[in-house]
Symmetry: C2
DNA sequence: ACCACTATATAGTTACACTTAGTAGGTGGT
DNA sequence: ACCACCTACTAAGTGTAACTATATAGTGGT
């Protein structure tokens, strides 16, 4: 339906994942499905897993492996303090960009 | 003041440049100054020129070189039909992303 | 046995903003 | 004449993050 969003998602998708984790313990496959349902229909598992690996490396999330009765074990993620701070900064940046883009779009001369 | 916006600008800055050109004939140095004044204070000439080269390669803009009384000659850019179509798509994508991000942010459960 | 769904991992590619450094023209001060 | 500073463009190289493609594995239904 809509053209390729890829480039516009850079720096945004990671924030979305952080936000989703902040709503409560979740795992990669579920995050992917939620993103798809939100409207980001082209986001696939591979993309989300690389983000999760990155978040773990940056120590913004905690992880706990738990069995599932629907398939292989799941890796559940929760935000830690650093993650919450990062998320706060993310929304701050988004608000800034968003307002500037609006300013540019609506600007009359 | 605000942290690094770099990643979030990917796919956005090019659209901003297109928008600015659509407002009337302009050139790299001026676009950079306008972006800085808008609030994108870290955007430098080098970044804008690479975008302009790309836009020309993609044949979204027309270029005309003109002398300046303030320094070296300027390369003035104008949008062509393909550029206007690209700009329209850009704002469509931005509107989509923007609304989805808002949905995610405001979501209660 | 085969397929579909659930679930994770990862090497390689691409795109784009950024860094850094260079070239050049014009003005004003010393 | 020289220098500092602003104007104006170019281009090679870097870093980051989303995407592509593929592999592995558990569970349930036919």
């Amino acid at each position: 339906m809509l053209e390729n969003l890829t480039e516009m998602l850079k720096g945004v998708l990671e924030g979305c994942v952080l936000e989703m984790i902040s709503r409560g313990e979740t795992y990669g496959y579920e995050i992917t499905r939620t993103l798809n349902a939100l409207g980001f229909s082209d986001v696939v598992e591979g993309t989300v897993y690389t983000i999760l690996v990155r978040l773990e490396k940056k120590k913004l999330v905690d992880m706990e492996k738990k069995p599932s009765d629907m398939g292989p074990p799941r890796k559940f993620f929760t935000l830690n303090d650093a993650g919450r701070e990062e998320l706060r900064k993310f929304w701050e940046k988004w608000a800034f960009l968003s307002s500037k883009m609006n300013e540019l779009k609506e600007r009359k001369e």
